[in-house]
Subunit: 304 residues, 4 copies
């Protein structure tokens, strides 16, 4: 298994079938540097334009439609000492009449202290002078090329992944994406130093990163929506509006998973989910919202 | 401060302005026994009909419209050794085309072991033979009479509370409800031995309980939606469909709370929420869905 | 069949089980005067408070839960020469970011010319100087008491009717409401001189009216949602959020109607609806939205 | 102005930036033959695969991002004597619990009588023996390439048009589409002999067509969503889920149009829309739903 150091020279604002920038074997390790959501790199230079410019695509040998691409997120290291956010809640996350009272969506700078593993506002407003948050790296946007020759803006998400902005997509997480084209064509970017649920100011703390991850093809692992796993839990991801529909997609995918991999029929899966399921909210700012359906491993029967 | 032992002789299927069954002073402690969602009591006798028959209402002296009723949930003890659930996911939580494949919504029995503090299926299907869940008591439905002489079924929820089915409403939680009528008129019932997020089989483990709680009037504490607090966090609750709107209500209420009680302006509150907010899903089965907006206390500035 | 002249002395802001203000036999004719949405009567005196104060309830002899109450709207005559509207689109009908640009929700006066059967702004803004609209009377809010002892604000709607704000509820329309309590307990008010689809400024041209209508009990006519009929079409009404769900309710009710009364099985009903159904939008301003599902009579097979 | 006879040799399942199949001058007339939603042509031969294979793209000289492409639908003539539909309502248009009772989604054949201008089922089920519907041609799916290099499946819709399935898109209608790429890149296909609102069986009467239309570039006519016009009315189109959001998009676009082209400020536009707006429902089957916002020309002030 090789390790590739991938240095992109241009970036993409869609996930789609584009000429591959790197070709790897299944199981290879990749180290790459991402720029932030607006295209600023580690030197603070604007090298690309938004939304969410992506590294990629990476062609994974052997990946064919119907397979699953396993993405292991191994390490994420910020590559500059600042990030930025918007200074107001997004209009769509408050009651419509209250939108009139929201402040301007100015940009604010945050300081990232890699040694201390913390993040804080450069110029904190009254009341937040002492707010020091933990560095919690996550990938905001990643995915594979969708089917049919479609290409989706990196400002939204779908079955193929995309701008899901889920806090759980950090080091230690493994994600499976449904392969729709030969080579899978994997893209990633838009990483955050920290982010609350929903990305409700329209940003996390946006910054540049060095990321290490592994891509592996799993044959004949059919699924419709992204699946994931970490040390404690397995989870599925639905992307749609309204949140109700994202929840339906994620729950339906989890039901399929419990049936095919854990040997539970629909009654057993219903009993399990009914009493132990957890939902977590990804992006609620974009055209498609993200809902995560999660089951802790300690409740699962043995696989197979 | 007195302690009342409240033994109801009839139950209510709505939260509304009804003759009070008990009158207490602000700050009094109440101990009562609830029956389950279908009206079965601790002896397994059916003493009332569904949906969610409520104890109450309790008139709290001094509570006037515009006040807030503080509810401290102190203790919840199951009063019988069994509970029940439905054996299929609800139709509205899976993709519409998949509804055709769901099993019948039969009732299943669960065994509650109070000494071991566990819950398990009486006749577990294949794969769940070893599933033993912790006893996690919670109140499914509680609230106060709404404004205008309205009366809402205990199968739904609104500004006044109701069937929110949020796991966080267990011992150790404090909840504030906006008072709309003199005496507040507090109702409660529909308690669960455990429940996953969303109540996606349409039930938690439904059983009868003895509950101890305190009701206190707080004057001039204006809010629109329920607020809550536990050892780690403060939270707000929005009840509506779709989930997007429930999220808007909860987020708007949290924004108000951060402004009035924590001295944050809208920019500061946006910065805080944007990077630390957590959303949790209550009921997604009823006419109104429930979304909880949460902020851990460690991130909050001092009050006042 | 008697004719009743019903002169209310007080009004209701909820539809619920309240002492009846008038008792009639099935098939009786009623003539009554309604006040406007804010409680102004035909003299311009404020005699009640909003939202949407209702005349009623009218107890219809013989009506029992499970029956249907047939409401024939025969005549609607405005009783004063002015009405009023709000001067801005509601915040929830534009894109969230655009809410910031909406004007204030001031009140504007409209002149009603009964002889000419027209409606126009008293002080038209630039560009609307020549706008003269037809008088198109309709009842904004009417319904029966809901089940279970529930009582719903006249600012919303449900299975029992309520604030549906559908333009089709004018003279010549017949509506069936599902009876949930003995006597049905019929309420009405909130009439408009004209209104666009959706009531998207939050009002039609609100004014006082004299209305003549007939109430008839139909036994054993089971339905869940309101049904209606006019010279050209039959229709069903769904009330819920989001509009998608209101559409599901209305479509499901129409499917039931086509099966039970027109002898179409689900395949035949699907063929018919698939190619001839029309949807019309009622209220999209209130907590519950209204969608109407309509089929022209010329496409229907003979009844029975 | 030239007339082009455009005979496609291959078809597209996405609207995106693809090599142009035809290049025309602004104002040129085009006559082309479309195949049906599943790829059957006028001979009943399957020449392409679904969803909704498109003719195109047509490159229109002079069209640049920020312009508007005016599409005049002049004539639509079915080219074969049969069409087909699905025999069941779609799962997403009925109440979730009722999905269990829906029939299979079989295909049914309809006979198109061009001389009589009628459409009827080949094998009508009981009750529909005498159902003869008018031929009402419409284009189900058409649009231009979206921005950013995106490409959207012809099973959905967005700002650039797509599978909107609006009955109003027939002969006599003029539609404006926002140009996002040089040449606009216009696609069309998926024509229907008739269709009810919403395309609630997932199809209209799907068949092949000959279509005559004109494409004209209008410079500096900025809009976000499709706009249209027919003899009686102007209208705007919003595509999104839920319907509430589609309605917001369409209403916001109409507000912009009334301001920029008809000289109405937001108060005047609110007054006008509030009392005369009509909403019509396009597709409610696809990932994105379609809502049309309509104003009759007789209520509009002179343009200027």
């Amino acid at each position: 298994m090789a390790t590739h150091r991938f240095i992109p020279t241009h970036w993409h604002n869609v996930l789609g079938t584009r000429p591959s920038a790197l070709e790897v074997a299944s199981g290879d390790l990749i180290v790459t540097e991402t720029i932030d959501a607006n295209g600023w790199d580690k030197h603070g230079d604007k090298v690309a334009t938004g939304p969410n410019p992506m590294n990629g695509p990476i062609f994974v040998q052997g990946a064919m439609p119907g397979d699953s691409l396993k993405v292991e997120i191994i390490r994420m290291t910020p590559t500059r000492p600042t990030g930025w956010t918007r200074a107001s809640l997004a209009a769509n996350v408050v009651d419509p009449e209250d939108v009139r009272t929201l402040p301007a969506r100015d940009r604010a700078t945050w300081l990232i202290d890699l040694a201390a593993s913390t993040v804080r506002l450069e110029n904190p407003p009254n009341g937040l002078e002492h707010l020091v948050l933990p560095l919690e790296p996550m990938i905001g946007c990643f995915g594979v090329a969708p089917a049919l020759g479609q290409a989706f803006s990196t400002a939204t998400s779908a079955e193929n992944g995309g701008n899901m902005d889920y806090r759980g997509f950090g080091p230690g997480a493994t994600v499976w994406l449904p392969v729709a084209v030969e080579g899978a064509l994997f893209f990633l970017g838009d990483c955050h130093a920290i982010q609350g649920d929903g990305e409700i100011v329209g940003t996390g703390v946006e910054t540049s990163y060095e990321i290490e991850f592994r891509l592996t093809v799993e044959k004949a692992r059919l699924h419709v929506w992204p699946r994931g796993e970490n040390a404690e839990a397995i989870f599925t991801v639905g992307n749609a509006r309204p949140l109700d529909q994202a929840l339906q997609h994620a729950t339906t995918e989890m039901l399929r998973w419990l049936e095919t991999d854990y040997g539970l029929d629909k009654v057993a899966a219903s009993h399990l989910l009914g009493q132990v399921v957890r939902y977590e909210v990804g992006n609620v700012y974009d055209p498609a919202y993200t809902m995560v359906c999660k089951v802790e491993k300690r409740w699962l029967p043995p696989k197979g």
